[in-house]
Symmetry: C2
Amino acid sequence: MSRISCPTLSTRVVTAAEAAAYITDGDRVAMSGFTGSGYPKAVPGALAEHARAEHGAGRDFRVELWTGASTAPELDGVLAEAGAVSKRLPFQSDPAMRQSINDGKTEYIDTHLSHSAQQAWFGFYGNLDVAVVEVAAILPGGLLVPGSSVGNSKTWLDLADKVILEVNSWHPRAYEGFHDVYYGTRRPPERLPIQLLEPMQRIGDPYLRVDPAKVVAVVETHSPDRNLPFKPVDEDSKAIAAHLVDFLRHEIRADRLPPSLLPLQSGVGNVANAVMADLADSEFEGMRAYTEVIQDGMLDLIDSGKLTSVSATAFSLSAERAADFNENIEAYKGRILLRTQEMSNHPEAVRRLGVVAINGMVEADIYGNVNSTHVMGSSIINGIGGSGDFARNSYLNFFVSNSLAKGGAISSIVPFASHIDHTEHDTQILVTEQGLADLRGISPVARARRIIANCAHPDYRDRLEDYLERAIAANPHGRHTPHLLGEALSWHERFQATGHM
Amino acid sequence: MSRISCPTLSTRVVTAAEAAAYITDGDRVAMSGFTGSGYPKAVPGALAEHARAEHGAGRDFRVELWTGASTAPELDGVLAEAGAVSKRLPFQSDPAMRQSINDGKTEYIDTHLSHSAQQAWFGFYGNLDVAVVEVAAILPGGLLVPGSSVGNSKTWLDLADKVILEVNSWHPRAYEGFHDVYYGTRRPPERLPIQLLEPMQRIGDPYLRVDPAKVVAVVETHSPDRNLPFKPVDEDSKAIAAHLVDFLRHEIRADRLPPSLLPLQSGVGNVANAVMADLADSEFEGMRAYTEVIQDGMLDLIDSGKLTSVSATAFSLSAERAADFNENIEAYKGRILLRTQEMSNHPEAVRRLGVVAINGMVEADIYGNVNSTHVMGSSIINGIGGSGDFARNSYLNFFVSNSLAKGGAISSIVPFASHIDHTEHDTQILVTEQGLADLRGISPVARARRIIANCAHPDYRDRLEDYLERAIAANPHGRHTPHLLGEALSWHERFQATGHM
């Protein structure tokens, strides 16, 4: 049965290539998609082919590409490989796109994910020409049922001059009712309070709206989200999770957390899955999550009965878990709500709900400044994503990493972070497999001693202590955050020169 | 006529020395005060004397000192000079206190000003033993009329085991009705939306509350706030203000700002006064402010009729302007509201209202990372204050500085900031007397070219360009944020070695 029940829009069905032809050189094109889910599967490939043909004919063809967050090889990958993206925002994690950015071929604007929709609306990025949005179904009246992510789709549909819809029947038709699209946003000075009091509360509509007059093309697909392989949890991740969950117990005993915790946010990756696994085995009951992304571990935690509800903006599941979810979707109704990323990451909601935020990091310096985005200062990995939205406004925030990388050649605790995404004013608790450093209410030097003792790998601990003590000695009147400027970035320099810090 | 109309509390009147005796070694002591206004004038001095006597007798005597923000020589100064402060938060700007911190004698916790009250309430800083709060009057039922600042007083009165009140008759009795103390805060998960829709809206009470059973002492004073000398606006500040106000016009023409602007926030200092002076001479009408501090320029802007209303948490006036305000206070009623700093700086309010934030900086690097707090990486100046609260959540943010410091020996635009308080993800517009760089929606390398061309002083421009071009060349696969790690902090090193960057 067709997923397109709207008489008007069903007349606009075309091929992906015909749809892509509505996009012209220099356009600003915004696509759906967040952490590899809910992105258009067909039009980006056709657009890439068109770009290659134009390049082959000696003509320019590049577009600005906006999304919710990261997508997949069929979107970021093909467009980057075709050299078709002049500018990219607000987040990416694709190898080909990353290379295009680091080669200086694509401009990348790495923004807080709660900022992207509003800043586009404010006009800070220019006029939006085309939106390409994947949905699970089009209802008779033209309302759109989103699929596995909401992301920025609401804003892209509102702002774009032209809209291309992809209707992907791989998404269960039963997704209807899983979304909460807030239509109460305004530009200042007309903004109103967001009346959200708890993670599962509905404050919007289950559907996306689109002006049918703007819809120039509808493309039908049946194609899975990004194929993310399932990874078993490694020992280091288990150790990090154990330190973190123990600390939550400690905070409950100190009466600084309620016994069912506060709403959880967790980034993607192995450590996040390990934390969820530990929580599933824990004594905590009645937990809730207010997060960006639902990954395997969080679904398991729902299945365990310990996590009663999750608000997010997208799924990021392994292929196996996605298949299982799609089959049993009805069982999750009323326990999962997907919102716009503006709401899932909104400072107002995050601070009010008192989120416990858990995010990965690349490195931290001894004073607690955190690098989430760059390798050795210059090259971007992915982007800041929602880590800043959550960390700044959280009740408690954790930044987690192995203490070593590259087989021990890199220490993730360094004298001075080679890029800073989260400052000492924002970071609270650092965790590595070595241990946990609680930085709340202590000065930079006290933080340094704690981070080095608890989080640094023993192979690097003495040298970090040595740096700290010499920096203190060398700055008799600069002992708030003592540094040796000539050495501060020398660990990264040494790695560049010798392959080892 | 006495300012103490409460029969119960009027029996607790004692001398400052008697009041200070309630404070013991190791106590956590929270005092009122924000940017040199509304701080207790007598008890801190008595406490410092007591500490000196104890030290003289060979006994330890140090306390942790919490406030709203910066205070004055009679508070931070005397206590730092007496060696009586083991830990200080959340902000300071006193020379003696700064020295004690930079000498490593006082631990300093430099937090966002919107975070300090809630984190104290969450228990992150430990139990609060004593609050010392200055007020303008005590009403018959025991309600307290605040004076020239609100700051964190509400939270300190709520949390402290013992309370000492200073009633300062220097504050006009007519301050009654100028305050809005929000009593709707809760700890998560019981938090509710803050129903604030515009800067002058009342959402709280005009009074501070205190449990009379906790009040151990009341001290009467008649003493002015910090004596801040009036400084005429210099040429560089005028140039910065002109660039900034021109840019506001540009944004109105582009339909990105309404003709009466959005609520203004402005840090303290010469540039802020210059901006206010320019706005007073401008075509803008019906402006409003949602800010931390009201300084001379903002009062002038009210007097001009162009600024209709100001919400803040404190005054920071020159002695002349304070005397004038106190004399004519009735004329400002209904146009000024002082809130708790939790509300004046609240992310929820700042983002909803769409604040235009203007804050000073120490230096910015070529990619737009901003240092607001440190000199040459190690020594603290003041602290981050509210700049992070406002910048992150603002509609538009400006960071302003002269392009040179120390007579040209220092460039405020550098290859790599020696401390980072505001990251590239947050900073939007940099302004020096040379010009303005709009960083919205462009990549780090594009930002660098714009900052160097528009904001750097000509004496340093070529060397910054040279650094950038060599960094790009040296990082063929690291062109997102290209750096030469061996040189990144060399400008600061050179200054330390030679006295010139």
